[in-house]
Amino acid sequence: MQIKPVLTALRRHKAGTVLVVLQIALTLAIVCNAMFILHARLSHLSEPTGVDEANLFVIANQWAGEQKSKQEIDAQVRADLIALQQLPGVLDAAPSNSYPLRGSGWDNFVGLKPDQLQPTSDAAVYLGDEHLLRALGVKLVAGRNFRADEIGTLGLREEVHPAQVIVTRALAERLYPHGSALGKPLYSMSATPSTIIGIVDRLQTQSVDDWQRAYAYQSMIWPLRLDWPSGLYYIVRARPGQLAAAMREAPKALLALDSQRIIDPSDGGSFAQIRQRAYDSDRGTAILMGIISAVLLVITAAGIVGLTSFWVGQRRKQIGVRRALGARQRDILSYFLTENLLISLGGVLLGVVLAVSMNVWLVVRMGAQPMSPLYLAAGVLLLLLLGQGAVLAPAMKASRVPPVEATRSV
């Protein structure tokens, strides 16, 4: 490919060249960053929570009516659970204070010593009884489940630190990276230890916010039934294929037992709904980024097609002369492809600088992650290919200019 004549010709089209360079640079900068954000958001969406999502649903039960004592509430909770467990479509049901992906919830610092100043980690706290593991469908990989006689109760503004605790594998490995955590103590914001009696494979925390990413799977389960006067969650696992029926029957069964309660329709629900709620804004942003990137690429390609077409039209005579002097069609084609490649290279060079500075700005101002160079490489490749693809049609047209054009005066 002859580069020198291309450069000489470009010098005569400074304004147009600069505009295409600018457009490619801006497009690269925005598309790289948008794709990076899109990927970051989408990568959360598919993360498994560790629970049996296909069959799980959550009932947000709030107590209404006259204030009850803790004992009355506890009796009601136990009656509710028996009623839920006896429903034909229900495999198991358990009480809890929260559920994975709830959005926010209780988390505690965890350490290895009672007087530790810097906690070892942060972990979500889930309360539950001996049915919780089965109701959630999480897999116990070591140790044992709670026994019924280990389950305590937690009333309003009571502080209880359980003697036994079940933790996730992620938390166990964080606390005891060398060797098994089973049977070892942990201190969760208290002076008394809790012994790790069981380890479950995976159980995600309540929040999906960025600050929580480092702790996403560090959860612990405390053997406590929540007896707050406000209410609690019932985690219910339906038998396979009976989710819809169980979700219809469960509230009816609860209201039949005691009508003085509110089942919050905007909280809980099937796990599909919970997942959708948790990731709604992520999905919205990802879709927006995708649309913006796609439209930008189309506009940039269209701009290149438009401008090159004009250049071809302007240079018909020059092309004719070259053809008459012996240039083959391929030579003309490669001339325009080379020209575009040079412009695009200029564009992506500037674009890489812009993309990196934009990312730095996002990191500083919005707390985003630094972009991996892979996105830049992919973006550069994409825009070079896009440029070559866009220029192909006008270049083909140019290559078909007949040599006789040289003799025409117009």
Binding site: L19, A64, G65, G306, F310, W311, G367
Partner: protein, 432 residues
Amino acid sequence: MFGYYLQLAWRSLGRNRVLTTLMVLALALGIGACITTLTVLRLLSGDPLPGRSAQLYYPQVDPYPKDGYVPGQSKPQENLTWVDANNLFEAHRAPRQALVALGSAKIQPHDAGGRPFFGDAVMATAEFLPMVGAPFRYGSAWSADDDTAGARVVVIADFLNQKLFGGANSVGRTVRLNGNDFRVVGVLGHFSPQPRFYAINIGRSYGDGDGVFLPLRAARATEMAPTNISCWAAGDIEHLETAPCMWLGLWVELPDAAAVANYQRFLDGYVREQVAQGRFHRTDTALPDLMQWLRNEQVVPDDARLQAGLAFGFLLICVTNTIGLLLAKCLRRSREIGVRRALGATRGAIFGQFMVEAAIVGLAGGLLGLVFAEAGLWGIRHQPAEYASLARLDLSMFAFTFVVALASALVAGLLPAWRACVVAPAPQLKSS
């Protein structure tokens, strides 16, 4: 002359339909995206109380222990303790002032079989509603005497009055909140400041207003718990009045700069006094006005800013694209320009002609951009965010669309028009 330019421009645009469509479409998309995101930004950073917000101030102090104090970085706390809130309140250093805390009320309908439901509740002192300019449909706010007496009275919102009493004048009737009867003394008209400035630190900033407004002491006497409590030491949160916990906000109305300076002096003096008594260990204070408070609390989510920034980048690319295409078109018409110049058209006339062409593209882009913006806002309204339902194009945004469209098209037209008007006529004529 202008008519002639219009005619020329129209013909020139018609000659290259695909290119014209491309220019208009690109511009319209850029403008549509910008207007959509700007509308959301404006909605989020709007003034909840136009005309009043400049006089409302929010005193802040820092009762935290000395540990962890970083000079210049530690900021005063968002809320006040009961003790500090009441000390500041009782000093009466502002013409009007009010204590506010948000809570939640279990509301029991009167008709048998009616299911109880939860509503947002605002616990406040008497001057809160008049100070923020809440309109009353029936009755009025409670009095300062009701505050001190702990009277069980309540002001309810219009939507709650609709739900409980079918919209009738319910003053004098009772509402059952958390198992206690409260007498209705007032029914509000439509009142929902956006954002709900008194609730932003608990993340309920937009959307419908609150259902019930009741005197702080009466609410506390019926054990209504504030939604936002933060404690710096262990304490009995059942007795929030003595616990080391912050859960109250104080809003003061300060009419002018002198009053603000006075209040700031009073606040600093109060804190020094508390330090001397050993209650406080940090001397920082703050007295932001309402809008500054909203900015401090960063009510506008990062995602909205990110989207607006992206939309502007998008518009920039669209404008660059339009410049390129206009330029290419104009260069192709060098001969036509040469002929017009030779026949006596001045450079100004050529410049004008090309700017008119750009302006037509801009106006068409603006019009189509408006359609895109409406579509974008429709999309926003179907998002789950709490502010979503409020996203609407208003008249000023409508006008702004056209200014943006025209301005970007004219900017895009400048370079091509300049290049066109400096075309030397002679070589163009010679070559044909």
